[in-house]
Subunit: 810 residues, 2 copies
């Protein structure tokens, strides 16, 4: 087993490799041609528009200024410099609160480390139990751990006391942090400028009515049941109103036409008619169309457009031969045709199809799904509608806060209630099987994919396979590949499952996927590593053990696995974080796109992929470190510094990333925090039960009742916090709504809310009406002449609407 | 073991004894002097005012008309005759829905019995496994059960199929019943005439404000945050308003004075000042006083009043010597004094104390607790306020539907939020210990109470105890007495625990007590009888068995315990129900009171104790029969007819009781039904798991996966029903509120709601202001001249307010 020296050596190697990553990052980020990879956020904000160093053509791509290389770690203090309020403005509230999870980790584990080293390490070292047990194999590490205490010793009281102290400290920190995040959230919501979702409620399961359309039915229902608050529905047949809308929207249309200039295929006339159709859809008000089919067509057309760009670029660089392509699958076979003509023709075909489909969607009453975004005159009215039950049948007229427009997940708005419950049942069962039985299909694939299997299925490959080097390579490689592929696509599978479950906002989808991923990590990484078996085997073991034995079985293996998890933290945690900052994949993708697809500056903007934090996979991974830290805090104190370094490094790196790189896709106001809190508390309870199991084997039976109180108190703490803080994340208090309404009525008495909300909730395919306009363009147009009100919220989807509003207000 | 013959014999004996009870009931109920015991409901309704048979003095007490005795079972069809809508009017919605639980039992178990006897009994009988096993002791009963199937037989598929069919049928019935009860509830709420709780919201945890009183703070908060809906708060210093109130309330005061005539102690002047004080409290509006201390004094005075009545009666019958009493504890020792003078003096002392306390409560600002009943102009406004969060701190300004005025549990309105969560934690821990460890204190008491213990503590009793007959009697009696006493006071303990938990309405208190009692019965009666051990021993066994073994351990004992539970059903169920109708305890109490305390007809009304259904203990007992029926339905079909007879008999008897006897204390609109549904589903899942455990021991392992799907599907069904129906029991849909508001505005545009709601929520000690007026008196006054609007709701608390309303309206 590894000695402390071994571990310190490994740690040193890992620190050095992390350092190497940072050096590489420092060099790469200073090169102007990488600027859009490492600072995309600033481009999106419109503050940075061209590489910082202009000059000679070489200097445009490579930074030759040596002085800048000397201060290669200067990004670290820079990342910490930005104060939090500014960070919230700059990177969004979600991101700013997300990195507070790392801060929470530091707040919990730094004092825990200090206490553990001051109190528990001396107690353990002087236990000297292992010195007398020559029959056992143990390492230096074990001498610092609880294993060094002789069974039945009074020294266990030190561990019990520290278990209480640690629990108290963790709860205290969690409470303070929850309180802080809650008040920050409320302040954020209160300080925000006008947003459509503040006035809007998503209504689902509108019951069918034989005499009225969905739109009429919604209008009648809400004008009857919320008479003073419902913002009157737009009339469908009012032509003069349409004209007004048109003239008001003129600036927007013209900005649209500005973009058309870049368009090489002359689809302008068609787009004009589409714009008219969009306006027609606007007149329908907030009723939602089932445009899933349409958006598929749009997506397909966009991918063809990419190919067209690629071939046009190719042709431009080499004007001698026109590029050709093959008509078959992925251009691999079929007849050879002129590529530019072919793709132009294909795109035109799809555009026709798209127009037909668009026409069909708008005219077909069946495409109007029984859901609507209902807007109210005041935030108070919306808050009331979102929190109350409308109909005596609670499965109809379901109301909930409308997500932000860019947060809406459109395909899921149409699912009826019964179908929804069945979908959730199926997904719950699937999740169970996925978590516990995922090894079975992989084992089958592995057994098929071994050499004998391949030889049987594809006998003609036999001579190739029999070559010795290939054989050994395949044998070493194949068994792992199925598992690796599975683990890579797992987040996508989980996200698909969440989508099937029918949640209506991206933020909720991410949160639910994170929950599933957490379960998977807990069972397969944590338990799987401790009991050492597949999840199914472990499930079998756990089912056949009694409730009182399970914590014992797992608890006694905990100290033995300390070395393994320390290595895990260093390789997965430290190195992973250091690699995160290099952004190798976006770097490669950007330069590939730059080489093949980019024609204009606008295209380069598009090629730049800032990405986002990826809450669904990142948060559960952090939670694993919380769990490990809490489990080992009492048992193996030597473990804690590794956790502290992980949290410190992560905080630094992710603070840098959200400032310079990541672009938040939506704003949920840190709606994920209750999940974070709940999972840390779950980790605490697991840690307490495992400690209980471990200590009960050490002849310290009289101390177990003392430990039994801990989980009870922790659960009580959880319930208390849930009642105290969670409503702030799901409901909107009427008092705050009223304050904001009153303030706004006083400052802007003549504001035309109806016009403002007009286009807020339109399906993106109607919004972007067939032009692959990057949202960023509208954004930049907006930012270059920043207005006071817009300077706060200028992430893409938002600012697009921001510019609409500016237009309509003028 | 018992043969089928034995069981049939026992059943016959039980049926005969039940029949004897019915005969006794028939004889007793026909005696005029028992009339108030067996038909109190009709007295309360004012329809029956004197024994039906008037005539000679003997005939006033004994019914000599032989013809009436012949049709001694005539009450049975009479009980079934009343149609349900009339029953709801007559006995209240809660009671009418409560007996539907028995109907639900019939609906589930009658088809189950038929199916089980048609399908499973033949399959079991022809299994003939037990015929070849001479080594086993078994009874005829086992031949009809699943034990008669040889292990590994294909016959188990019949049981599996029936398990699915039974589950399906039970779910179907539950679904239909839930749907029916929900729609009945909604119709009931919609059809109800105006009630104060429809417009009122209970606000708790009003935050303290340094500048304003609670009353002002409430008024400001709600007039700001619910500006168009809040019913303006009554002005505290408006003297002319007070005068108006006074003159309007004159009829009520005079009716009050009418009653004063009966009062022998001349406390009229004091009462007048109290009435003024009451009016002053009325002016404070809906703010709630902490009058717990005051109501204790009132209670104490009432018990003294009883003693005074007793001695006055004694003196009236025997006018020679004035009765004397002793001043010490319970009149057992102390100096001897004239009883009537003594009690008069004591009562006067208490009246003084009461007046001081009343003054203190009203003038002391600290006695105003941070809770208020806030009324709104419309039902819509109240529905909105009750369902929304008011403040950004979710532990302040907690709003919920106000319970009916007579349903409010006043002492619990003042508990702060943090204290509430701590109380709930403590009670949860206590409940756990009560359920699993209750045998420990009882065993200690038992060991103290044995003869050696008594001899040690009280050596002078030794000669008495040594007498043989006494010794054997005590030894046979003592060990059981502690347990028996515990079981008798258990419902009180559970109710006290619920009160400590801080629920604010009687209906909720009863529901929570029922939940606790159900847990107790499930663990101690059901599991305790099957595993045969104390709950603690069983807990120990279960903790040390694996999760997959627990259902097996319990499952295999199930068939062996069939005889025991059949006997249990006959003794506890059948005989208990038959005894229920005799009302032995109220019969005795009534005649005792009649003999010693009753002076006037009014006192006799008071001596009459209709009682109420006792949901907190009765419902969990029914659930035990659901559980037993579902568990044995597949395993021992012979069990089912006993369950069916229980439900049939109960339905009949309780329908009779709610028509003729019980007086519903409050109206919650069948808010208990979700609990009923949940517990039946719990029983289903327990039954499925036990069947799974049993069958897995019978070498039918390939069938267990088929059974595993059942609990999953059942849980899904539960979640579906919960979402579909439960909101109707906790929320009030805005659409319905709006319909009712609109209707009322159209029919009564000038109704003065403010005056109507004025006195609705006043602490009962202020309402009854020191006079031990029975609520019934006001009720009867009201009923004798029934008005159209009042004829529907004339249970006591309600009609009292009804009369107020009448007065204020005139």
């Amino acid at each position: 087993m590894a000695t402390i020296g071994d571990i310190c050596m490994a740690a040193a190697i890992n620190i050095l490799s992390a350092f190497a990553f940072f050096v590489a990052f420092a060099i790469l980020r200073l090169q102007p041609f990488n600027d859009r990879v490492y600072f995309p956020k600033w481009y999106l904000k419109g503050i940075r528009s061209s590489p910082t160093h202009s000059g000679g053509s070489v200097k445009k791509f490579v930074n030759l200024d040596c002085r800048t290389y000397i201060k290669f770690l200067s990004w670290m203090p820079a990342a910490l410099k930005m104060p939090e309020p500014e960070l919230i403005d700059h990177a969004g509230f979600d991101s700013a609160m997300y990195i507070r999870i790392y801060l929470l980790g530091l707040k919990i584990f730094v004092p825990l480390s200090v206490l553990a080293f001051v109190v528990l390490v001396p107690v353990n070292v002087t236990g000297r139990y292992l010195d007398h047990r020559k029959d056992l194999t143990f390492s230096d590490l074990d001498k610092l751990s609880i294993s060094n205490i002789p069974p039945g010793s009074q020294r266990f009281w030190a561990h019990l006391t520290m278990a209480y102290v640690f629990t108290f400290w963790t709860c205290y920190t969690l409470y303070k942090e929850y309180k802080l995040v809650t008040s920050k959230r409320l302040r954020f919501l209160a300080s925000q400028s006008r947003r459509p979702d503040q006035f809007t409620v998503l209504v689902r399961n509108v019951p069918p009515d034989p005499d009225e359309s969905v739109s009429q039915h919604v209008e009648h229902f809400f004008s009857v049941n919320h008479p003073n608050h419902y913002l009157t529905h737009q009339a469908e047949e009012a032509p003069e109103m349409d004209k007004v809308t048109f003239s008001k929207r003129a600036p927007f249309v013209s900005s649209d036409q500005n973009v058309v200039i870049f368009d090489p295929t002359g689809r302008e006339c068609r787009r004009r008619s589409e714009a008219n159709q969009q306006r027609r859809s606007t007149r329908e008000g907030e009723v939602v169309y089932n445009a899933n089919n349409l958006s598929n067509i749009v997506d397909k057309r966009k991918s063809l457009q990419n190919w067209l760009d690629y071939y046009e670029n190719k042709y431009r660089r080499n004007s001698v031969t026109r590029p050709t392509t093959k008509t078959g699958f992925w251009g691999l076979w079929g007849t050879s045709v002129d590529a530019i003509d072919y793709y132009n023709a294909e795109i035109d075909k799809l555009l026709n199809k798209e127009a037909t489909e668009r026409e069909r969607v708008i005219s077909d009453t069946k495409a109007i799904i029984p859901a609507a975004f209902v807007s109210f005159k005041t935030r108070w009215g919306a808050a009331v509608c979102a929190q109350t039950q409308q109909s005596s049948n609670p499965t109809l007229w379901l109301t909930e806060w409308a997500p932000e427009p860019r947060d809406v997940y459109w395909p899921n708005l149409a699912i009826p209630f019964v179908e929804l419950t069945i979908r959730r049942l199926l997904m719950a069962v699937s999740l169970f099987f996925l978590t516990f039985f995922f090894m079975f299909p992989i084992a089958i694939v592995q057994s098929l994919a071994n050499l004998e299997g391949i030889e049987k299925v594809l006998p003609f490959l036999k001579p190739v396979i029999e070559i010795h080097t290939i054989k050994s390579f395949v044998q070493g490689f194949l068994p792992g590949i199925a598992l690796k592929i599975f683990l890579i696509i797992l987040p996508t599978i989980l996200m698909t499952m969440s989508k099937i479950e029918g949640f209506t906002s991206l933020s909720l989808l991410e949160r639910r996927s994170a929950g599933k991923y957490y379960l998977f990590i807990l069972v397969n990484v944590f338990l799987g590593s401790i009991i050492t078996g597949t999840a199914f085997q472990n499930l079998n073991v756990l089912l056949h053990e009694s409730a009182s034995e399970v914590p014992v079985t797992i608890g006694v293996s905990i100290p033995m696995k300390a070395t393994f998890f320390i290595t895990y933290i260093m390789v997965d945690g430290w190195a992973g974080i250091a690699a995160e900052i290099l952004r190798i994949k976006p770097l490669i993708v950007f330069h590939l796109k730059n080489a093949f697809l980019v024609k204009t500056e606008k295209d380069r903007e598009q090629a730049m992929d800032p990405g986002s934090l990826g809450y669904a996979t990142a948060e559960p991974r952090i939670q694993l470190y919380f769990l490990l830290g809490l489990v080992y805090s009492v048992i193996t104190p030597f473990f804690l510094p590794f956790i502290v370094i992980f949290f410190g490094l992560s905080y630094l790196v992710f603070r840098h990333q959200i400032i310079n790189v990541y672009n938040q896709e939506y704003e949920s106001g840190a709606a994920f925090w209750p999940d974070v809190q709940r999972r840390v508390i779950t980790a605490m309870i697991i840690a307490q039960l495992l400690l209980l199991g471990l200590i009960s084997t050490m002849n310290a039976a009289n101390s177990t009742p003392v430990l039994l109180a801990l989980p009870v108190l922790t659960i009580w703490f959880h319930i208390y916090c849930k009642h105290r803080f969670e409503p702030a994340f799901v409901k909107f208090p009427l008092q705050d709504a009223m304050v904001k309404d009153t303030l706004e009525r006083a400052t802007e008495p003549n504001f035309d809310l109806k016009t403002y909300l007009q286009d807020a909730y339109i399906h993106p395919v109607f919004r972007k009406h067939g032009c692959d306009l990057p949202l960023v363009v509208g954004d930049e147009e907006n930012i270059l002449v920043p207005t006071k009100r817009n300077s706060r919220m200028n992430t893409p989807g938002e600012s697009k609407r921001g510019s609409d509003r500016e237009d309509t207000e003028n």
